[in-house]
Amino acid sequence: MKILVAVKRVIDFNVKIRVKSDHTGVETANVKMAMNPFDEIAVEEAVRLKEAGTASEILAVSMGGPPCQETIRTALAMGADRGIHVLTDAELQPLAVAKLLKAIVAKESPQLVILGKQAIDDDCNQTGQMLAALLGWPQATFASRLKIGDGAASVTREVDGGLETVEIKLPAVVTTDLRLNEPRYASLPNIMKAKKKPIDQVSPDALGVNPAPRLKTLKVEEPPRRKGGGKVGSVEELVDKLMNEARVI
């Protein structure tokens, strides 16, 4: 079984972001970038399926400018076999990404596509569901457990009320939640090996997709700052303030 994983290059989750002074977006120049943490979980799950003998090949796809190569290399170092880089300077929104992935799926015919449930930059939580829709495939979002059977999979999902299990036919799209696995760190020998693994480059044009954004970002602002930092010296004072000052208990 071939597995396709989609990996996005985002600002590292440890970086405190800064809104640009002209309110057009968030400062990304000279900021540490990394693979979206949910996509790392997707790569890890695919690699484990390959190690278990369930998957035969793992294809890692990323989209964007030239530095996305690094994100694909990270996936290759974790254990993916080859990469596809959709090279574009266009702003990519989830619907366009789903269309580009659909075009790649049509060429590569994977049985399973695994993506992170959301990217930690735009926090959209859409691409997997959209890809499943465009392909007419089942979707299992927010997965915390994935069990592949014969032509089908059983997926446990993290939902608001607890956990839910769905049975899906393959081929299918799965999006990862936090507790599906703990991604490995790539070892130095694997990082070296990854440099020799192939990455194909392709343009949105060649895939027959117009990636133009549907939503126009009018402005990006900092949220109102919360005035915190107040301290109390004792439990008695705390309860007193909650009752008589804040009046919330």
């Binding site: 829709a133 979707q139 299992a140 607890g162 899906i168 939503l215 126009k216 930092g229 301290k231």
Partner: protein, 316 residues
Amino acid sequence: MPVLVIAEHDNAALKSATLHAVTAAAAIGGDIHLLVAGAHCRPAAEAGANVSGIATVLLAEHADYENPVAEDLAALVVPLAKGYSHLLAPASTFGKNLLPRVAALLDVAQISDVAAIVSPDTFVRPIYAGNALATVQSADPIKILTVRSTAFPPAAADGGSAAIEAVAAAGSAGLSHFAGAELARSERPELTSARVIISGGRGMQSGDNFKMLEQIADRLGAAVGASRAAVDAGFVPNDYQVGQTGKIVAPELYIAVGISGAIQHLAGMKDSKVIVAINKDEEAPIFQIADYGLVGDLFKIVPALEAELAKRSGGR
């Protein structure tokens, strides 16, 4: 054109998140229709008909919708959509699972986690775990939004008298089916609608120690939550998680116990009206957003807090 809100419900009653989405729909303008798709879900539809501001309830009943999957609900919603200017659902795991699928089938964008309606085509949504707010404009013929519950008050659950119209079920595509659930059963309020929340973090050290928080929760009528660290450590189940990828909450009072305040956690609770932080580390980031910070050992403070609350309530 009217606006369609897709109800989240359990067949017997509406989930409170639906009422928040109705308020967002009212801010857009136009008649509001509510789609209730389920099995034996007339009670939920009747509850919807009583909600203030709803003009029509669309009721789609079918055994396949007992625990509906997104594939089947999307097949129901897509043909209905052409009569509407906007489709809305709560930004819960239900809405987040469903609406992107609907949007892609209609070849339009979806706007996630809408926190403010600027105009019928312009919306504000948090990005980067709420560390920035983006104002986005959609030129698509139909706008599809998931609504952040904490940003809109709930619509009144009574005062309405909408007509209930049956719509035909779309049937199941057979791509996937619900196989079971382990849902938390609790006498305490739901996290997303609780007036008071007390949450524990890694500092709690074990799941057993959450009993201390439960005692206070029961005294205050509060829900119990947790940070990602506490869930990852296995202290409590995933449905306790408050944060960027867990539940977004904004209660009157949020008490954070043994939580350092990672960005991902703050993203889920920083809109709470009053924040109390209890942590032994004076430098913990949670104190920067807390109204009332108490530095010290939670294993001494929490029992003392329980005792103090008991004393003030006359020992009840």
